[in-house]
Amino acid sequence: MTKKPFEGVKIVQLCWAGVGIYTLNYLSHYGATTIRVETATRPDPVRLFAPFAPTNKEGEPVGLERSAFFSITHTAPELGISLNFKQPEAIEIFKKLVAWADVVGEGFPTGVMDKLGLDYEGLKQVNPEIIMFRTCGYGHTGPMADQPGFGSILTAVTMMDTITGWPDRPPVPPSTYYTDQLSPMYGSLAIMAALDYKRRTGKGQYIDHAQIEAGLNYMTPLILDYQTNGRELALKGNKCDYAAPHGVYRCKGVDRWVAIAVMNDEEWQIFVKAIGSPEWAKKPEYSTAPGRIADSDELDRRVEEWTANYPPEQVQKLLQKAGVGAGVVANAKDLDEDPQLNHYNFYRELEHPYMDKLRYYHPDPIKLSNAEPDVQRPVLLGEHTDHICTEILGMTQEEVDGLRKKGVFD
C-alpha cells in the first residue's frame, strides 16, 4: 500500500473552536496520528453550539456529543483522551504525550498554557525537537494577546465585514466566521513547512499564528489601494468595475436566483445569442464593456426579465453550455444535491453513536492523485483514554484505574 503523506507524524492537540481544528484536519486526514486532549470540566464551547441532533428520549440532556457544529468541523481521525489539568497527574501524562509527539497544537488565548508551565519553553524541556503551533485571535504578544478570539469578531477586524453590501446600506457579513476558514490554510502551511524543516535539520520550532494577521494576508490589494490612492473599497452590490452584465438575478420559483457574469465582449455576443438575440441587446453601445457598464442598471433589468421565466438550474445549464459564467445561488438543499460536489464525493455519510447517520463530513477542498483522505466521525470526549495510556504511554491498567478514581480523566 502507498504510504500516506504524514504517516509517522504524531500530533497532540488541545485546540478549541474552529481554527486549530481546521488547521490540523489537513494533517490528520492524510495519515498523521492525532491525539485530542479535552476535559469535560471545561468542554470546547463548540460542543455546546446548536444545532443539536435530537435526543433519543424525552427529557434526556443534550450532552457534549450532539452538536452538529462540533461534528461537522471534526472530520478527521483522532484519538481522544480526557485530562483534567487541575490534577498534577494530568499534567504529567500530558508531558509524556509531548515527549511522544512531533507537533503540539493549541488554540487558547495567551496565558492559559503558560500558567500551567506548558508554554514553548516548558514543552522544549520535555522534547527539545517539538513543533509547537499556537493559534489565537490576535497573536501571543502585544496588548491584545490574552483576548479571546471568536471568528465572528475576527472577521470584522480583518476587513472582511466591509466587503459585502449595497452602496446605500450598511455592509453585511459574508458569513459568520469567515476568518475561521480562511486563516487555517496559513497555519497548515506553517506546520507542514516546520515538519519538512525538522525532517531535514532535526530542529523544532514555535509557531505563533494570529488569525488577524493570517486573515489580512488575503486583503493586501485593498491595503495598497488605500495607501497609494487614498481609497477605501466602495460597496457595489453585485456589480463589477470592468464587466456587465454581472449580478444575481431573480428566477422562476420562490426566492430562487442565478448569478451571471459576462466578463468580456466575446462572452456578450455569446450571451445575446443564447438568450435569443432580443431587440434591446442589439444597441451598438452594448458591444463593448464600457458601454454595457455605463448602462448596467438597464441591462440588469433586461436580464432579469429573461431569467424570471426559468428556474436557475436551467439558466446555469444553458449559459454554461454556450460559454458564459452562470450558477445557481445555491441554498443548503442545492448544495446537498449539487452534482459537482457529489461527483467529488464531498459529502461523506457516517454513523455516529449519538447522531445516527450524518451526511456532512467533508474531506479537504483538495484532491491528490496518490492519496485519499481518511474521513471519520468526531472523536468522543475521552474515547480512547485507556488505550492511549496503556498502548502509547505504556502505563498499566491498574495505574489508569487509580488515576481515574482521583479524577485525573474527568
Binding site: 504510504k3 465572528s152 449595497w166 524543516y197 445557481v328 460536489l341
Partner: protein, 415 residues
C-alpha cells in the same frame, strides 16, 4: 524553511496567492508570464491610478517574493525551455482552464515523464473532472455555487456576492496546502503527483456547520437576514434575529452577543457603561443575567435590548468601542477598513506591517507581514513583485544559455 524547493508558477490572478504563500516560507517561486506580461497586470487597481502593467496593485500584493521570467510555452522552443526548467523544479502551479496544459502537451503525464518527482498543482473553480469541469468560474458564479451568496444580504433585496474579488484565493490557498501534502508524500514514495485545489469545495467548507447543520437535522434552509446571521428562540417560541453588525458613530462594529451564565459578568458591565451614557435600560435594570437567556425574553424585551445597544454604539467611535472591548473582554470588534488596520494598535505592537522598497516608483509601500511568526526565521514578504522578465538573464543563464541566445529568444518573442 522551504528554500530547497523550486516552484514554477503559471497561475493567473485567481491563484497568484498560492505561490506567494509558498514563497513566504522561503520556497523559490518563479512566476512565468507570457512575453510582454501577464494579462491580469492590466486589471485594476493601480499605483496612483496610473494604468500601467508595472503598477498593478494586485500583482504587487500576490507576486511579491517571486522571481519573474517571460516565456511563451506554446511555441516549440518555449516548450523545450519549460521542460528544461521542469527538470530543475519540484512544483508547478497553474490555474488555466481545465485541460489546457494537456492540450499543449504539458499535462501532468508529460511533465512527469521529464521529472517523475514533479508535483503539478491545478487550481480551479470546480475541479479537473465532473459535470462542471468546463464551466466558466468568475468570482460571483463560483461563490454562488459554493453556497456563500444565498445567506448574504437583506431579505428585501437580491442575495449578495462580494465587492472585493477574492473568492478564488480560498481554492488557491488549499492548492498551496495540497502542494505541501504532496511534498510530504514524495519523501515516502519518491515521486510527485497531480494536486487539485478547488474553490467550490473550499466555499462549501465555510458553509458546513452554519448552513449544512440546520439542513442535516431539521431540513431547514438558512436564509439571509441582513446584518444578523444566526437565529435565537424567544420565550414565546418565536425566532429572533439579533444583529451581528451594528452602526456606531463613525462606522460599524461586530458584536457577538451571548446570553448565557458565562457571559453574565460581561453583559452586566456593558449595561453599566450604557447607563453612564444616560441611556434608560428599562426592565434590564432588574434582569438576572446569571440565569436568564433568550428563552426567557419577550419580543418587546428583545426589541428594547437591541434599541438600548444601538443607541449606545451610536454614541461612540470604533476606537472607543475597541478600547472598551479590550479592557472588559467584550466580544466586540470594529469593522475595520484599510485605514483602520494600518493604525490598529495590536498590529503595530507586533511590528506587523513591512515597508517594502519599490525603487522604480521611488517609494516604499506597507504590506501585511507574515501570516505566522516562528522561531526558525522570518516568514512573509521580503521583496517587491518582479518586473516583466526581470529574472530572465539569471534563470536562462542557469539553464546554460548565452547572452546571444537569450537575445535571440527575445527577438523571436519566445521570452
Amino acid at each position: 524553511m522551504l528554500s530547497c524547493y523550486r516552484v514554477l508558477d503559471l497561475t493567473d490572478d485567481k491563484a497568484f496567492i498560492c505561490g506567494r504563500a509558498l514563497s513566504d516560507f522561503g520556497a523559490e517561486v518563479i512566476k512565468i508570464e507570457k512575453p510582454g506580461g501577464d494579462a491580469s497586470r492590466l486589471k485594476g487597481p493601480f499605483y496612483k491610478d496610473e494604468v500601467d502593467p508595472e503598477k498593478n496593485l494586485t500583482w504587487f500584493a500576490f507576486n511579491s517574493n517571486k522571481k519573474g521570467i517571460t516565456l511563451d510555452i506554446t511555441t516549440p522552443t518555449g516548450k523545450e525551455l519549460f521542460l528544461k526548467l521542469i527538470k530543475t523544479a519540484d512544483v508547478v502551479i497553474e490555474s488555466y482552464a481545465v485541460g489546457y496544459l494537456e492540450s499543449i502537451g504539458l499535462g501532468y503525464k508529460d511533465l512527469s515523464k521529464v521529472n517523475p518527482r514533479i508535483i503539478l498543482t491545478s487550481i480551479s473553480g470546480f475541479g479537473q473532472e465532473g459535470p462542471y469541469k468546463d464551466y466558466k468560474d468568475p468570482d460571483i458564479v463560483v461563490r454562488a455555487l459554493g453556497g456563500l451568496i444565498y445567506t448574504a444580504g437583506y431579505d428585501d433585496r437580491p442575495p449578495l456576492g462580494v465587492s472585493y474579488e477574492h473568492t478564488h484565493y480560498l481554492g488557491a490557498m488549499n492548492g498551496a496546502v495540497g502542494t505541501m501534502i504532496a511534498l510530504a508524500q514524495r519523501v515516502h514514495i519518491g515521486q510527485g503527483q497531480h494536486v487539485e485545489g478547488i474553490t467550490q469545495q473550499a466555499l462549501d467548507i465555510v458553509c458546513s456547520a452554519e448552513i449544512e447543520g440546520p439542513y442535516a437535522f431539521f431540513g431547514e434552509i438558512p436564509k439571509r437576514h441582513g446584518r444578523a446571521r444566526a437565529a435565537v428562540t424567544l420565550k414565546d417560541g418565536s425566532t429572533y434575529y439579533n444583529p451581528l453588525l451594528w452602526s456606531c458613530k463613525d462606522g460599524f462594529i461586530a458584536l457577538n452577543l451571548l446570553l448565557n451564565p458565562a457571559s453574565a459578568r460581561n453583559n452586566l458591565s456593558m449595561m453599566e457603561y450604557i447607563k453612564r451614557d444616560g441611556i434608560d435600560i428599562g426592565s434590564f435594570e432588574n434582569w438576572d443575567w446569571q440565569t436568564k437567556s433568550w428563552e426567557d425574553m419577550s419580543r418587546g424585551e428583545a426589541d428594547k435590548l437591541m434599541e438600548v445597544l444601538g443607541e449606545f454604539f451610536m454614541n461612540h467611535t470604533k476606537d472607543e468601542l475597541l478600547a472598551l472591548a479590550t479592557e472588559n473582554r467584550f466580544q466586540l470588534g470594529p469593522c475595520n477598513n484599510a485605514g483602520d488596520v494600518l493604525k490598529y494598535p495590536q498590529l503595530n505592537a507586533r511590528n506587523f506591517w513591512k515597508d517594502i522598497e519599490h525603487p522604480e516608483l521611488g517609494t516604499s509601500l506597507k504590506y501585511p507581514g507574515g501570516a505566522v511568526v516562528t522561531t526558525q526565521g522570518y516568514v512573509g514578504i521580503k521583496r517587491r513583485a518582479p518586473l516583466i522578465g526581470e529574472h530572465n538573464d539569471e534563470i536562462y543563464k542557469e539553464l546554460g544559455l548565452t547572452s546571444v541566445e537569450i537575445q535571440d529568444l527575445k527577438d523571436k518573442k519566445v521570452i
